[in-house]
Structures are given as C-alpha cells and as structure tokens.
C-alpha cells in the first residue's frame, strides 16, 4: 500500500494538455481506452487536449477505442534516464497506431523471446495496473 502511494507521489508530472487528461485516465481506470473525436472535422486524436489539432475546434467528444492497433516503431532502453525504471532494464517503449487513427506511446508486453522486427505487427490492448495507474499496454495479436 505504501509502495503504491509513494509511486503515485513520484508519478509523472501533470498532463500538459489540460483537464481532458483526467477523463482519459479515469476511463482507463474502468478498463476503457478512449480518444477524442472532433465534432467539426471528424479528426480523432491522442493525447488528450482541449482543441482539435487539425481545425482548432473546441467541439469534441470521447470515443471508445476498440483496442486493436499496429506497431509503428519501438525501442529498448538499456539505460534508465528515469531512475524509476532502473530495475526494469532492459524495457521497451513503443508507438502504436490505433485502428481509429490516433497514435500513442505504450509498452509491448508478453513478447516472445528473441529479436524480431515488430514494426507493422498487429497488437491488442491490455490494461495493466502499474505505478499507481491503469496503463494501456499492448500485446501481439494471435
């Protein structure tokens, strides 16, 4: 319990994008990955923010993502620039593109052993509780 509380205290700085970030994380707490869809131009985006980055409209709504995506690229950290991750080395960070369009940063989990090219591979959402939050991670689709 105290571990979780201390991880939360050391957690990431508040979102740069304003209040919509809170609703995004709250939905993940309930197991739903959501993104924003513009009411004016139909653009879909992440990470959460207050205006559409394409047409600048403040008129948008939340939409639930199916949780299926494609790997755009990925890296493996062998150095922990963020000391909270020292004991997880080596760990991966990936960029995936949701089937609905938005891109996001995530981790790939349950990867099989051995090097492989993961770019273009299909992945699916796994919501995992870690560092005091429900995190949207992805594993290779069967």
């Amino acid at each position: 319990m105290s571990d979780t509380a201390s991880a939360e205290r050391q957690g990431p700085p508040p979102s740069d994008w304003g209040p919509p970030g809170d609703a995004y994380w709250a939905a993940l707490d309930e197991g739903r990955l959501t993104f924003q869809r513009c009411g004016a131009c139909g653009n879909g985006w992440l990470p959460p923010r207050t205006e559409c980055p394409r047409c600048w409209s403040p008129d948008w709504r939340w939409e639930k993502a199916e949780g299926t995506a494609t790997v755009v690229s990925w890296v493996i950290y062998h150095t922990a620039f963020d000391k909270r991750f020292q004991e997880r080395l080596p760990y991966n960070v990936a960029v995936v593109e949701l089937d609905e369009g938005p891109r996001m940063v995530t981790n790939l989990v349950d990867l099989p052993d051995g090097q492989q090219d993961l770019i273009g591979r299909r992945v699916e959402l796994v919501v995992q509780r870690d560092l005091g939050r429900a995190l949207p991670r992805f594993r290779l689709s069967p």
Binding site: G11, P12, P13, S15, D16, W17, G21, W25, P47, V72, S73, W74, V75, I76, Y77, H78, T79, A80, F81, D82, R84, F85, R88, P90, Y91, V93, V95, R103, M104, V105, T106, N107, D117, I119, G120, D130, L131, R133, L135
Partner: protein, 374 residues
C-alpha cells in the same frame, strides 16, 4: 539576398569539461574572439542574437548577456529552436542587416551541460513518462528503428557516419574526443536505447561559439580579412511530437534545404563539403536524404569506400561534428564551414568552394540550413 551578407569573424572556447565557467563568461570569450577575428571594434556591433542555454533556462537571457557585454543592441533576442537556433539567428541577422535595422551582428551560443545540469536532455515526456518514455536519445532511437525498417539499410550506414566524424575529429586539436573509430569498435559499443549505440550519440560538452555577421559591402569597407559569403538559408519545423508524426522518417529538413538551395541557386550536385548536424547518426542519414544528396534508402552509395571522409564523394563534418569535436549544439558546424571556405580547416577539402551546414533541434522538430561560398 544571395551573397549580400557575410560571416566576417568566428570564435570559440575550448570544448569539453569547463568547470566553474558560467554561460555568460563562455559567450563573452567566444564573442571576444569572433570580433577580433573579424578585425572590428566591439562598439561597431549593434545587434546581439543568442541561443538560450538549455542547461539553465532563464528569462531575458539576451538582455543579461548584453548588459554583461556593455551593449545596448538595436536588434536581438534569445532564440529557442534548440540546435536549429544558430543558423536561424544568422539568417535573421542577415535579414535585419538587409532591412537596415542593424549593421554588425553577433550571433552567439554557450552552454555548460557537462559540468552543469543535463536535465534538458534526459527529461521525462508528460504523461507518457509513465511508460518509461524519457530522454532525447530514445526519441531518435524510435525514428532510427523505423528508418532501418523502411529503407532496409543496415546499421553499417550509421557506423560509416560515426567513423568519418571521429576520423576528422582525431585530427582536430580542439576536438573533445580524438579517438578514431573502427567498424568493430562501433559494433562493440554498448546499446543506449536500442537500436542506437553509444557511438551513435553525440558528446555532452561545455563551450561556446560565436560569429560576426555583416553585409559584404561593409566587410569590404572595414577591410575584414576573410569574409565568407552566405549564399542561401532556409528553415522548416515539424513542431509535433515524435509519436504523432504521420511518417516518423519525414521532417521539414527537406523544405529547409530546398529553400536554401533555391536562394543560393545551387543544388546538391554543387556542394563540395557538408557540415551536417550529428546529434545522432540517424540525423545525418535523414538530413542527407532530405537534402537530396541521394534518394531515400540509397545512402549506402555515398557511404561506400569512405565517401563521407575527406577525399570521398561527400566529405562530412570535417572538424569532427557533434560526435567528436563537441556536442555543443550547432554553431561549431558553421565555424567549420567558414574554415573550409577560407581554406584553413585541419581537414581541408581541396578546392572546396561551397559548404552546406545543417542545424537541427529537439527530436528533429526544428531544422535550419545554410549554404556558404567564396
């Protein structure tokens, strides 16, 4: 405006570990040397353009520096385009001179991330930090992985770039790292963020560099000994986070390069030597392709048989670049371009008459290009 402005003087400090030196002190040393190199009196300088030091960001740094230097500039300010700031500042100085807003401009950069704090390079990125997503190098690694996938190239290309820079740096008495690199050493160097190895990554340095910009006419009137004409410049800024770019391997470097080539009335085939921003080897690869020195994925053709080394097809980063001379972001590449045009480089390219210089900032967010001539 082609050739109407010149770089009249250059100056720099030592590069590496300079404990106890403030960025103000480093800037002043570089400026003192640049003004002396141009052979002009300090009081002729009426514009001061300065890149913000990233190791310790403060408000109104330009005015602080001007005060320390006993100046009241007519034009100036602090630029923040990361490593692209330097060429952008030189461009703005040239345009301000052309517009009659000032006559003699100092463009300067100092930073001390090696003995100060390098927090700016290792910062976590907003909410995504919770995935372990942090550091500048990881952003480049994310791009590099996609680049290797899309082009089908092997990391040999990255090794070729690093080997050329390190070979040139080994000859440069001012270089911070004077150790030549072999392909085996490259392959044995540890991963930092895979697929980038230690030897793909630039140095972290304290230091400063400065240039004096004025019109070609004024340089003539003041008997400046070795003015180097600015033939062209351009900029382009991606201004979006790496994960959000529709194509990870596309930036605005191409737009920047084409703008500079158009102004100079030249193409890649006219360039004799290149100083390409090498914060990471991937940056060089993508910049050369964006500048149309080769088609995407065909970089190996230039790299073959030491193509990036002096005597090769496109001599690259002849003072050692950020990988060997100094990781100080960008202005040192302009200084080396000036030396090549003056014929005074330690790795002089025979009969070099044109030099392209690239500056780049963030995770390939910002880009600036300059073409120097004779």
């Amino acid at each position: 405006m082609r050739g109407r402005a010149v770089i009249a003087g250059i100056g720099h400090t030592a590069f590496g570990k300079l404990p106890g030196r403030s960025t103000i002190s480093l800037n002043m040393e570089a400026c003192r040397k640049a003004v002396a190199d141009a052979g002009v009196e300090k009081d002729r300088v009426d514009a001061l353009f300065v890149k913000v030091p990233t190791s310790r960001v403060e408000m109104m740094y330009g005015q602080k520096l001007a005060e320390a230097m006993g100046m009241t500039p007519r034009v100036g300010g602090v630029w923040d385009q990361g490593g692209a700031s330097n060429i952008s500042m030189i461009s703005f100085a040239a345009m301000a001179i052309e517009a009659g807003q000032c006559e003699v401009a100092l463009v300067t950069l100092a930073d001390n991330p090696r003995t100060g704090t390098r927090q700016a390079y290792e910062k976590p990125w907003s909410d995504d930090a919770i995935f372990g997503w942090s550091s500048v190098v990881a952003g480049y690694a994310m791009i590099a992985r996609r680049y290797l996938h899309d082009t089908g190239l092997s990391p040999d290309v990255f090794a070729d770039i690093a080997m050329a820079c390190r070979k040139h740096g080994a000859n440069n008495p001012h270089a911070q790292l004077r150790l030549p690199l072999t392909r085996d050493m490259y392959g044995d160097s540890p991963w930092v963020v895979e697929p980038l190895r230690r030897d793909d990554c630039c140095l972290v340095s304290d230091g400063a560099a400065a240039v004096v910009v004025m019109s070609a006419e004024r340089a003539k009137a003041l008997n400046v000994p070795a003015p180097v004409p600015i033939l062209g410049f351009g900029q382009g800024h991606s201004s979006c986070d790496v994960p959000l770019r529709p194509d990870l391997t596309e930036t605005m470097a191409g737009v920047s390069g084409r703008t500079a080539f158009a102004m100079a009335g030249l193409g890649p085939e006219h360039i004799d030597v290149a100083q390409i921003y090498d914060c990471f080897t991937i940056t060089v690869a993508m910049t050369l392709e964006a500048y149309s020195f080769c088609r995407k994925g065909e970089l190996g053709r230039i790299a073959a048989d030491g193509g990036f080394e002096v005597g090769g097809r496109l001599p690259l980063n002849t003072s050692g670049g950020l990988l060997s001379e100094t990781g100080m972001p960008g202005l040192q590449l302009v200084l080396e371009g000036v030396r090549q045009m003056r014929g005074s480089s330690v790795n002089q390219v025979t009969n070099a008459k044109t030099c392209i210089v690239s500056n780049q900032g963030g995770i390939m967010h910002t880009h600036s290009t300059m073409i120097l001539g004779q």
